[in-house]
Assembly symmetry: C2
Homo-oligomer: 287 residues x 2
């Protein structure tokens, strides 16, 4: 039977929200998709692309009769909206989000009025570029979509969220918010910080010699890629996942010191062991 | 007029040497290409692929009448060969190499008997995988090929090396060995060390939680990519470019400490400036 979630309101029509609207419209056409965005031009474009059945700049109007509301704005804006959206939603409405960190968001969700069902979420996809122009119905296809239920989340609400995520083509994974935040600190936020470390370290070391940058090839390009990503998004993440990121950075600092000591001490056997361990793990993760 | 460098002997038929042989055979067919490899199977395969006109496992025989000899083995083997190859070469022969570090190699070249012309070289290309099976005639196409002449290198020899590099399809760039080594420490060896730092740091932090690795997506994949590369090659590089790499690592350590301090102190404005500087530079280097 075809998925039908009734009226689905998506708040924020950037890369994540726009792609979600497109995916539902294409893969669960019986749903009525309402797109909500700050700018009239974004709403107009989403309608033109047939990503939404209806569009508005008015949050209250857009979510009023919704059965599912998905917050797809930057993390700090999601937190603002969670604090205020409760009274605008009808009883039994399921409130979801796509924010990159979960503990802070789930804490905020725990204070939403009881007539609303809540569940945190984080789809593990994205692109270097953001915005509705980059959105596409297959962004979620076969990607892991973390769902973080709260103690108050009902079985029915969790079940509905799982079916919703599956209808986007994604693979739901139930995780505790704290465990999620530690994991993404390690596999998403740490790479970003080390990517910035690379660019800044190289800049301090030989940045004055402009010719250096012309020699930069594949290794530098890939290792520095995420340092070129969205700044507001990273600042939101750093602000809402501070403790796990600090812990991850501490481990990275120890690992870097270890490499420096081995090289200083000319301990090439110890170095080989250290490099070999990392190489083996890397090849296990991405065979 | 078509390039003719007479007899060109390539010592080592891995990715770099094999691709060079293939490029000359294709782009300067008047040259006579001699391939020299340790294993009979490699020699046979290079002949079968028509990458070489002639192949041998015997270094002395292979280089005896050569007008150009290119050493394309790992760095420490290049150093061994430079120390012993002089007496095997005919007067006026041009000895080149493709090693990733230049100061140590050029120092070794300065001790080659005077009847041989010498020039260091480093083509800025490569792949994650090595070996003759990955070789292709277009590996050098449009890539920067650093040439590091010694004080004793004649104008004619430099000119010949430049023409040879151009005939491969590459873009010659004349650099002092020390300046080259600082540059590659920044844009090639530092990315590797930080890539290893990422994998080891993440492993120490949450590696015990195996589910973590299943969530690893694009950001982790790209930032950790070079940590999966060739170990012997990196150990050679670390052994022959120790000082510049230690200096680059020191700068990276300072940059990482700065990020940690900003996050610890909740200085989000300072953080934004730091991240923004790296982002701007990254986008300048790879627009």
């Amino acid at each position: 039977m075809e998925a039908d979630f009734g009226r689905v309101a998506i708040v924020g029509l950037g890369l994540m929200g726009g792609s979600m609207a497109a995916a539902i419209s294409e893969k669960a056409p019986r749903c009525h998709v309402i797109g909500i965005a700050r700018r009239a031009s974004t709403v107009a474009r989403a309608r033109m692309l047939r990503f939404v059945d209806e569009g508005t700049q008015d949050l209250a109007n857009g979510v009023r009769d919704a059965d599912i509301v998905v917050l797809a704005t930057p993390v700090r804006d999601i937190l603002d909206k969670i604090a205020n959206i409760g009274p605008l939603l009808k009883p039994g409405c399921l409130l979801m989000d796509v924010g990159s960190t979960k503990k802070t968001i789930c804490e905020a969700m725990s204070r939403v009025p009881e007539h609303v069902q809540v569940i945190g979420g984080h789809p593990m996809c994205g692109k270097e570029s953001s915005g509705l122009t980059m959105a596409e119905p297959d962004l979620y296809q076969d990607r892991v979509y973390v769902l973080a239920p709260l103690p108050r989340t009902s079985e029915e609400a969790l079940d509905k969220a799982i079916r919703f995520v599956r209808s986007l083509g994604a693979r739901p994974l139930i995780l505790d918010p704290e465990r999620h935040d530690r994991m993404v600190a390690a596999i998403s936020h740490l790479p970003y910080m080390l990517s910035v470390t690379l660019v800044s370290g190289a800049e301090d070391f030989v940045g004055y010699d402009e010719l250096t940058w012309q020699l930069a090839a594949g290794g530098f390009r890939d290792t520095s890629r995420v340092a070129g990503g969205s700044l507001p998004m990273m600042l939101d993440i750093l602000a809402t996942n501070r403790e796990p990121i600090l812990e991850a950075l501490d481990h990275a600092q120890n690992s870097l010191s270890r490499l420096i000591q081995l090289l200083q001490g000319n301990d090439m056997q110890g170095m080989e062991e250290e490099l070999s361990k990392a190489r083996t793990r890397r090849r296990e993760v991405f065979p």
